[in-house]
Amino acid sequence: MNRLLYFIKKESLHILRDIRTLLVVIGIPILLMLLFGFAISTDVNNINVAVCAPVRAESIEKVISEMDNSELFTFKGYVNPDEIDRALRSGKVGIVVVFADDYDRIVSGRIPDEKAVQIVLDGSNPNVAASGAAYLTAMLGGMGSEAGLVENHILYNPQMKSAYNFVPGILGLIFILVCAMMTSISIVREKELGTMEVLLVSPVKPIWIILSKMVPYFLLSCINLISTLLIAKFALGVPMTGSIFGIIFISLTYILLSLGFGLLVSTVTDKQMVALLISGMILMLPIMMFSGMLFPVENLPAVLKPFSYIVPARWYIDAMRKLMIEGLEFSGVILEFSILCFMTVGILRVALMKFNDRLE
């Protein structure tokens, strides 16, 4: 036990003396959170809108001013029917709203089976087009028309803020970065330096060497977890009404899993550069693509979908979304938690086995 403390002290000194790396490790999660939270956003704002209205009725003016007042749309003026194509083509506007000649009468229901409004969209940016159409439809529906429009009621994230969605994804990425990448590099560095050989000749059990490497990175990850959760709660306003205990518990499990990955990577190679590449390419890419961090898992092609089941980050991110955004209790994520536990035990087992093999 005493020996373990010596090692942990040594590992902590390694980390503390390398201030630049330490700052990166602690700073990156904060930077990512702020970037995704404020700068990079898939929310669509300020779409330019032109209106084509044969009759300038008061009801139509009302719709337009409502549109212009929302932060989603900017009213750019009226166009004639034959200018619609040119307005969209030139890129001056993204949406043209065409009101029917008999708008008032259709909206009040006097002419059934007629559409009151047509929305013409620039589809070259599908994201903008789809969100714009959805927002407009919702807005027109809310304007008191009884023409059978569907009422949308969005649960959990009514403003559809994308930042909410990114928080669990960023955590999923950060822990792999800090735990897997840093641990594997720190183990492989000792092999490169030759100090590992001296340690192996000493009476210290290899497992203690590895454990002492994991402890400081585990603590660093906890700091990251805290800073990320604080930013999520107070700067981004993620509700986090669910079980805080659950959030922390499942994160710790995921941290352990990432440490296991780091150990596994370190058994595959003796070069720091290779360890870095493996952690970067083989661990990070699947997390971005298959975990639901960037794209919903449901949107993956059927061939790739099964692949997402073996990406641990997918289960972690799923569970964190449920806990943080939907506000479920821990009992709501038992399935995800069990899968993560199962994977953690598996990875650690394989990693330790391979580590011992390599010593022979």
């Binding site: 005493n2 020996r3 403390l5 010596y6 090692f7 002290k9 040594k10 000194l13 390694h14 003396r17 390398d18 330096l193 030759g194 100090t195 050989e197 001296v198 340690l199 192996l200 000749v201 000493s202 009476p203 210290v204 010593l359 022979e360």
Partner: protein
């Protein structure tokens, strides 16, 4: 202190170490020579308990190399050809760490470290980071660190690689002093002038020990004037290259 009988290590069909036998006495400086690929490193790994022999038997510091490899580790010091101190720690922190690894009490580590550093005139610089220390000094400090827990046997695997002649001379006087205090030193080297500092040397060729005696006796036996020529006479017949 070290006793090996018919030690063999196979890697598949390849006999890396082919039935070597020798004894090393307490306080002796034993030179373990051989060209690259002759099987030196494999043999040392077995003696240090890092690797298991395929057949044969042996004892190091009174412990069986087959069954008590963990006990061996407690009684030996080891310094390898790669530099083995942590560069981002101070000399003192390195000594604390290695003393701690060998289960020494912090107080004892400090006493011993102070004594060893004062002997080599380095005590005032104990709080320097290792990376700020010149290579020659680092190598001497690495030896000091390998000696911190007063091991019965110290294994040195090419300890003077890349070190200037003056430092090598100082290094060897440290080795002789340590041996005079009763520690057995088992050393491999490429420098044949260093071989002449050893009490006895063995020369390994293709996994076998082809010669074993005092340097003077070997020079006389081969009718040459230096260890260098003895070595070249033997290594010329090697089948394995590299």
């Amino acid at each position: 202190m070290i006793s090996v009988n018919n030690l063999t290590k196979m890697f598949g069909d390849f006999k890396a170490v082919d039935g070597i036998s020798f004894d090393v006495a307490k306080g002796e400086i034993f030179g373990f020579l051989g060209a690259n690929g002759a099987g030196k490193t494999t043999a040392i790994r077995i003696l240090c308990g890092l690797s298991k022999a395929t057949s044969g038997s042996g004892h190091v510091a009174g412990c069986d190399i087959i069954t008590q490899s963990e006990d061996i580790k407690r009684n030996i010091g080891y310094m390898c050809q790669k530099f083995s101190l942590y560069e981002d720690l101070t000399v003192w922190e390195n000594m604390e760490l290695y003393g701690g690894i060998y289960g020494m009490k912090t107080k004892d580590v400090h006493l011993r470290a102070e004594q060893l550093l004062k002997e080599v005139d380095f005590y005032e610089h104990r709080n320097d980071l290792v990376k700020s220390i010149p290579t020659g000094w680092r190598q001497k400090l690495a030896f000091t660190v390998a000696n911190i827990h007063s091991p019965k046997v110290i294994f040195l695997d090419e300890p003077t690689g890349g070190v200037d002649p003056l430092t090598r001379r100082q290094f060897w006087s440290m080795i002789r002093k340590t041996a005079a205090e009763g520690t057995t030193v088992f050393v491999t080297t490429h420098y044949m002038d260093e071989a002449e500092y050893c009490d006895r040397v063995s020369i390994m060729v293709d996994g076998k020990i082809m010669a074993l005696d005092t340097p003077a006796a070997l020079i006389e036996k081969f009718g040459v004037s230096s260890m260098d020529e003895v070595f070249r006479n033997l290594a010329r017949n090697a089948v394995r290259n590299e």
